[in-house]
Amino acid sequence: MFDDFIIRAFAAGIGLALITGPLGCFIIWRRLSYFGDTIAHSALLGVVIAYAMNFNLIIAVFAVSCFVALSLLFLQKRTNLPDDALLGLLAHSVLAIGLVLLGILSFIRVDLMGLLFGDILSVNITDVLFVWVGGSIVLIVLILIWRPLFAATVNLELAKAEGLNADLANAIFTILIASVIAISIKIVGILLITGLLIIPAAASRNLSSTPIQMAIISSVIGLVSVVLGLQTSMIWNSPTGPTILAIALGVFILTLIPLKKLLISKKKIELLN
């Protein structure tokens, strides 16, 4: 069954959407969207290392992402610069180092477009396994650290004062983001992964009134976007990753329609008649 590239594409995309839902919510709540971007930019270095040393791509990207995330924590403590400046510094310098290495090691042939925008139709069985096994681990860990992580998101000092290990939860969360970006490289690419994290969560915000609701609805919206995006891209022969995000944007626009208000005013009109 998994011989069919379309089935593999669906399996990988759906698996990814299920993880990016809740993680994306935390990224929005904690205003970390630029952090996701930084990690994604630095992924190029991981790719170059993987090719140069003939190493597994996902693991190399994961290692570099973790290194960049830890560097950020270190710089936050050592400097007085604001977070967005530090993130900009890291994102572009690591990207530059990746490009320099790529130029020096001229024997490496990297499909840059595939790297930037992903190619979900080319994923193999190993990639699908990485998504589902890695994704399950990410989800289980997220559920385990949910309470301290969520409390720290609302108020760090309060969480710490009342005995939750907020620092540990924050560090683990950073590693989770790095893993999801590593997993997603082949599927949506490094330029688009932040979109897949943020757009479904943003759309979900418009529909939900509790945090858990928002996390679940966000997964569902991601799933719908992947399924519809894959089908649309096959009909129109459009690039798959961007099509998925375009569909997600469409869902976001739909959520802006105040359905409840419309329903209530309709009822009022009916009553008046």
Partner: protein, 250 residues
């Protein structure tokens, strides 16, 4: 006899080439209210954070009794707009409670009717009551209240302080209270510590207000017994602000 829950011994915090606060010693025991007063920037919140072990003292030692439940009402807390959060979710933030317990806690602070309301729709005073409800729902051993009545209207302020006193009696916890509303606080406090970067003076309330250091900081015209406005209500308010028509005296 070692009943003290939290003890600071000659503690100080050094940040950006200066001491935020230095030489603070205090002790909070079960069933006791200790109040910190002092002008802005005098190190009240810093001291509270040391007693919670959020801030490690750069000098001196802070000791917290092991395995006690701690509740904290921070001075400032802002909920990000992207976060959908109802009052009930907020009460459950650190510890999950039964709905009946949450109802009780919200009832004590007078906002039971707002249990399913989104926290961002609460007014400043209502939110302050929610912070307090969350803190007492845990039935803590040690409770730190950093300016707990800011934004609460005057009659609500007195009611909240009465609530604090009732909590101490009911769950027998120790409270570290930070306030600038001396006139209301004084009568209900066991021990007062007056801070201004260091401990200016400390003692039982009646002795502190006569202390020269205290008078220098706050002036002598603040007489805690006289400035308390006695509001003679002939009616009761329901939690949502409407007037309860049933006369309780009959």
């Amino acid at each position: 006899m070692n009943k003290s829950l939290v003890e600071l011994n000659n503690c100080g915090v050094f940040r950006n080439q200066k001491w935020l606060v230095r030489g603070v010693s205090l002790k909070v025991s079960q069933g006791e209210i200790v109040t910190l007063i002092g002008p802005n920037g005098s190190g009240k919140s810093t001291t509270a954070k040391m007693s919670l072990d959020i801030l490690k003292p750069d000098e001196g030692t802070n000791t917290i009794k092991k395995d006690i439940r701690i509740s904290y009402v921070p001075q400032k807390i802002s909920i990000d707009w992207s976060l959908p959060l109802r009052s009930i979710d907020f009460v459950n933030l650190v510890t999950k409670h039964k709905t009946s317990e949450i109802n009780d806690a919200l009832g004590i602070t007078g906002i039971q009717h707002l249990i399913n309301e989104d926290v961002r729709n609460l007014s400043g005073g209502e939110f302050q009551r929610l912070l307090m409800a969350r803190a007492i729902a845990k039935e803590p051993h040690f409770l730190v209240l950093d300016e707990p009545v800011q934004g609460v209207d005057y009659s609500g302020e007195i009611a909240l302080y009465k609530t604090i006193q009732e909590i101490v009696k009911k769950i027998n916890c120790g409270i570290l209270l930070i306030s600038h509303n001396l006139h209301v606080v004084m009568s209900q406090t066991d021990y007062v510590i007056c801070l201004n970067g260091h401990v200016c003076c400390s003692g039982i309330p009646s002795s502190v207000i006569k202390d020269q250091e205290y008078i220098k900081l706050f002036g002598s015209n603040i007489d805690p017994t006289l400035s308390l406005y006695k509001h003679n209500h002939d009616h009761h308010h329901l939690p949502d602000g409407s007037i309860d028509k049933v006369d309780k005296n009959k």
